[in-house]
């Protein structure tokens, strides 16, 4: 973490601590989450999919939120906080574009300026989201360095923030980066876990599912849903892309202001991640996932691009729900391990809808 940003992070921590304890801030955020984002999101029981897999699958429908993913929970919180701190401008990184779209949306809602960095490679495969962000009034800037994906978009966003920290808030999109981000972003997503816990209590005889699963890139949607079940007997399973499995294949490292598992070469140079999903194309992972893994509270599985493509089609065909490629990773794991999971109840965080991926899948499936 560059020295220039240390005072800004300290100021942000103090501001968040104060806001989070302030009932009027919480009420304002809850109001936006309900009336603007459409919370609470339902849980959908997947009858046909469950019959086909022999596993009872429930979906937490974050894909039904405004802007089409869980990202809006965090972004509305951060934008409100930024406004409270007197900042007039948001800068953000984005992989698949979901966090960028959510940031551009919040900026439009609150009358703030917004600049989004996106890897050049990702801008090509997620052209629709680039257009959406521009339509919402945001400036979208390609990250041209390194692997030209999410990791490099984070670098560019940090470089911008170093230069603009006086009037700008860095609206970071996952449970990663320097303190207080992993904690703050987690807090903004605990609403997913809290709602899920209450909904499961009504829906399930045992009140809690046997397994709670979510995809993991930086890991914000997973942390959000895990938070509701960390104190239960539910097994927590994060699913990483095989080409970007920081927990599964990384070793401890320090980058982007955090110490966590990181894919790197023998000298500590950060390696490029490779995944069909732009949103999970990140060689690191939020530090809380590294912690949950090292204490054994959560485990992390890997799936291949081909398994994800099959899962994407499976859910579309059996339930009429086109998933984003990111949560399709979690379904791909359920599908692969269905024999081991037979008879169990699995809650999957459906973190985003698949509209953004349809163009890419059209090319792949022909």
């Amino acid at each position: 973490m560059p020295e220039t940003l240390v005072p800004a992070c300290q100021e942000l921590e103090a501001a968040f601590r104060e806001a989070w304890a302030d009932q009027s801030f919480r009420d304002e955020l809850d109001g936006l989450l309900a009336d603007y984002a459409g919370r609470p999101s339902p849980i959908t029981e997947c009858h046909r999919l469950s019959a086909e897999l022999g596993v009872r699958v429930l979906l937490k429908r974050e894909d039904l939120n405004h802007t089409g993913s869980h990202k809006i929970n965090n972004v509305l919180g951060q934008a409100l906080l930024a406004k409270r701190m007197g900042k007039t401008r948001l800068v953000a990184e984005t992989g698949a574009g979901q966090h960028g779209v959510a940031s551009a949306t919040a900026a439009a809602l609150m009358g703030m300026e917004c600049k989004v960095f996106m890897g050049e490679v990702d801008m090509e495969r997620q052209a629709l989201n680039v257009f959406r962000m521009r339509l919402l009034g945001a400036e979208v800037v390609p990250a041209m360095s390194g692997s030209r994906t999410l990791k490099d978009a984070v670098n560019e966003a940090m470089r911008d923030w170093v230069a603009t920290v006086e009037n700008t808030h860095y609206c970071l999109g996952s449970v990663m980066g320097p303190h207080p981000y992993p904690w703050m972003v987690r807090e903004f997503h605990t609403v997913i876990g809290k709602e899920s816990r209450e909904q499961c209590a009504k829906l399930l005889e045992n009140e809690i599912p046997d397994v709670v699963t979510a995809c993991v890139g930086g890991g914000s949607n997973a942390i959000g849903i895990f938070s509701g079940f960390a104190d239960t007997t539910a097994e927590l399973v994060g699913v990483e892309p095989a080409g970007g499995a920081a927990v599964g294949r990384g070793v401890p490292g320090v980058v982007h202001g955090m110490k966590s598992y990181l894919m790197q070469d023998e000298f500590g140079q950060v390696q490029e991640a490779h995944s069909i999903s732009a949103g999970l194309d990140y060689p690191g992972v939020g530090p809380e996932h590294s912690h949950l893994s090292s204490i054994g509270r959560a485990r992390y599985e890997q799936v291949t691009d081909d398994e994800v493509i099959a899962a994407f089609q499976l859910l579309s065909r059996t339930e009429g729900i086109i998933p984003a490629l990111e949560p399709a990773h979690a379904l791909a794991w359920i599908s692969r391990d269905r024999v081991k999971l037979a008879g169990k109840t699995v809650l999957l965080n459906m973190s985003g809808r698949g509209d953004k991926d349809v163009g890419q899948m059209m090319e792949i499936l022909g």
């Binding site: 020295e3 240390v6 940090m158 170093v162 603009t164 070793v251 401890p252 000298f267």
Partner: protein
Amino acid sequence: MSPTLAEEGLTIPDAPAEPGEFELSLRATRESGRKLLIAYVTGGLHDEWPDVVRAVADAGADAIEIGIPFSDPVMDGPVIQEASELALRDGASPVTVLDTLRTIDAGVPLAVMTYYNLAFHMGHERFASLMYEAGVRAAILPDLPLEEVGPWASAADPAGIETVMLAAPTAPDERLPRVVARSRGFVYAVGLLGVTGERDALAESSLIIARRLKAITDKPVLVGVGVSNGQQAAEVSQVADGCVIGSALMRRVVEGDGPAGAGAFIADVRAALDAS
């Protein structure tokens, strides 16, 4: 020992009371009435980089910062990003750069500038001792702030590596003395809000941060980030003890000016400093 996720704790050891070799050398030069000039050279960029180091030393740099290229240089602008990327593509690593460095007799003190993960990954003790064996006496890790410096400094101090701390324009008054107290070799004053790179004019903020630092320390204060030519170097050195020049030099190297061009540029900056 391979790195672990375990917290080493946040204790920050006091910097040794006595200045190290690097700082003593800069102090002696300053005492002689000369403004200090440190040139930054990306290690491993083209086969000729040792000649670039020698050329800028001969042209009047008082010390040289060797950049060990890192995959994610978040404090660097486009020029040093490109230089780093090219060097990495040429196969540069901490080991190859330090191995080569030990064969270069530059005749001036050497510092390494790189990012913390390379030290963390190799292990603090090993990284510090490899640097020392290569003739390096100071380290600049721009993504390792005061709060996190403890584990590294505990290894670097006894190994003879002076850790230079960055002092940013955003630091409140209560923070600067703590940064200065922990800084060894010199104090690196960050000249502006932003990453490394050339600017058309010297930022007002570089004079302000230099003034704030000079008021509280007699350690050498050098301004880096955004010092782009002889005129700007002379301007900022009216307040500071000197400056660090990186991007303006590396742009010339990346563009193919070679050791001779690099030397000529540093000679110009030196002349401007000496004339001021």
